[in-house]
């Protein structure tokens, strides 16, 4: 906590694959108290699950370990604590690698690693189903039993409780599995300010702070639509820092001298990102009402956030389940002027006819022309007649691998056997990918929470 009672929580990663230098800048370019790093998205858990299936020591955000090796000494010296869900589907493996990295970085005996487990429901799945937890799909209402034999991973989205416990036990770095993105920000605030579980408005404010922080630079000028061409120095974009007060109000800012821009408008763009019903933003710890947020510019690159109200949480946790659901592949070719779009569409027709003659059964074949309609569909209108080039992009999906594999061999032949002026095949044949589909469900808290464990060990 800083002298004026404010706790500064910096965001270092908005997803697995984000700017590797951002967390380094956050710990080196100015004072902060916590560094939160969100590595997980719906799709990420299924990718990690695939990696763990191939290598039991994998299944977490591997980038996190060498990153910590770089910044661990600075964090220890400056008293910066790190909270992350880098553990993915293998938090134990992540924490073990982190301890090793800490030793290599020379912080042995000076830092403690906290590990949160128990979100992983895979080993308990049959027991849970037998006990009447149907884990129905939140959109289709189908019970999980319909795909049980294909389930690859199942993780409950867990809240702040175990992170607060780990911080209370003196952890300097807390590694979790499927913690909610927002808890990585509001758990440290609950720990620092001693907010109680029924302090709904303050925790809801922490949730809003977490939602703003969780996508990194997406609230400080990155991917920002408003006047984007005037946003300075995105090459050195500052990631967000939440300066929170004990009463639940906070300021969103970034380190001085960094690029990007923080305004009420840039923060609003992040607030509406991945938003459902804004009055009912459900987390494990509180329901936040985003229609009560008041934003106010508070000097250059500073936005004050206040007024947030919340109410008691539900009795459920969301569960993120991944299950095998067939195969897919996507192939691309580039067609050049003149009549680029006409050539690409003709090539697509030839490809589809060949797939039919081969008697390949697909659940879906999708054709898009990148450079014309791949993002706006029919709203893109007719292709401009003098389009300099266009990329044909064809995707297929099937239950079985066979037809998808055969499809991956049908793209290259179009170069010599289809319409002219075609290139862009240097990357080689497309790859058939196994689909890990997403199955969101709810589970009663009492089926998960008693199984959550917190362990803190020295480096």
């Amino acid at each position: 906590m800083s002298a004026n009672g404010v706790v500064r929580i910096a965001s270092g990663q908005g997803f697995w694959g984000d700017d590797l230098e951002a967390p380094v800048r956050q710990v080196e370019r100015g004072p902060i108290d916590y560094l939160m790093m969100d590595y997980l998205a719906e799709v990420t858990m299924s990718i990690m699950q695939k990696q763990r299936a191939r290598d039991p020591s994998a299944g977490y955000a591997r980038d996190f370990v060498p990153l910590m090796e770089r910044i661990f000494p600075r964090c220890v010296e400056a008293g910066i604590r790190v909270v992350t869900n880098a553990g993915g589907v293998n938090p134990e493996g992540c924490a073990a690698a982190l301890v090793e990295a800490g030793r290599r970085a020379g912080v042995a005996g000076r830092a403690r690693v906290g590990l949160v487990t128990g979100d992983d429901l895979m080993d308990r799945l049959d027991e849970l189903l037998a006990a009447g937890h149907e884990l129905r799909h939140m959109e289709t209402d189908a019970p999980l039993a319909t795909v049980r034999d294909r389930v690859q991973s199942a993780n409950a989205y867990i809240g702040a409780g175990p992170i607060v416990r780990a911080l209370g036990m003196g952890a300097d770095v807390v590694v979790t599995g499927r913690s909610t993105d927002t808890a990585l920000t509001y758990a440290p605030l609950m720990h620092e300010f001693g907010w109680s579980a029924d302090d709904h408005n303050r925790i809801a404010a922490g949730v809003v702070a977490g939602h703003i922080n969780e996508c990194g630079a997406q609230c400080t000028g990155g991917n920002c639509m408003i006047d984007w061409w005037t946003i300075p120095d995105l090459a050195d974009v500052g990631f967000p820092i939440v300066e929170a007060a004990p009463d639940g109000t906070f300021v969103v800012t970034k380190h001085e001298g960094t690029g990007g821009r923080v305004t009420a408008a840039s923060v609003t763009e992040q607030i509406v990102y991945e938003m459902g019903d804004p009055a009912t933003y459900i987390t494990p710890d509180v329901i936040a009402d985003f229609t009560t947020i008041r934003l106010e510019d508070d000097g250059p690159d500073r936005v004050r956030v206040q007024g947030v109200r919340g109410r008691a949480a539900t009795d459920f946790l969301k569960v993120s389940i991944a299950y095998s659901s067939g195969w897919k592949a996507t192939g691309t070719l580039t067609y050049a002027w003149p009549d680029a779009a006409a050539k690409a569409l003709a090539a697509d027709g030839i490809l589809r006819e060949r797939l039919e003659r081969l008697d390949l059964a697909f659940d879906e074949i999708r054709t898009e022309l990148v450079g014309w309609d791949s993002t706006h569909g029919a709203l893109a209108g007719e292709p401009p007649p003098d389009l300099p080039e266009v990329q044909l992009r064809v995707g297929v999906r099937a239950d079985d691998r066979g037809p998808v594999e055969r499809f991956t061999r049908e793209i290259a032949p179009l170069i010599l056997t289809g319409p002219p002026s075609v290139t862009g095949f240097a990357g080689g044949r497309p790859h058939a990918q196994e689909i890990m589909a997403y199955w969101p469900a709810l589970i009663r808290k009492e089926a998960v929470e008693p199984h959550l464990t917190v362990r803190v060990e020295p480096v």
């Binding site: 959109e139 229609t291 879906e364 569909g377 999906r397």
Partner: protein, 130 residues
Amino acid sequence: MMRVQLVHLAHARSGDKGDTANVGVIAYDRAHYELLRQRLTPERVKEHFGPMVSGAVERYELPNLGALNFLLHGALGGGGTMSLMNDAQGKVFSTALLRVEIDVPDEVARAVRGRGRVPEGWTPARRHGR
């Protein structure tokens, strides 16, 4: 009244939850929020997207932020890992909504002309020779 493309009146950001895309539409000028609220009905948005959105369109209001949030169900070809779309996670679905045209008073149309687009003559700083 004049027809104006939404891109001149609002900025937007989109994301995904499964097969549902969300588009948050934010008025550039808070004074235009009510106008957007009246014109951008869920029915109008559903009509705009046509077959691109197979399910329902829901709308939520955030007057505190001058914003409307649309949920477009069945917009992402199955969503996430299932989808064959280039924009499988609906990251730029927002921009497709900014194409919609709405009727606004003449003085509003004049005031917002050119807003939301790169100014004429502006070019990005290039580091590669071209």
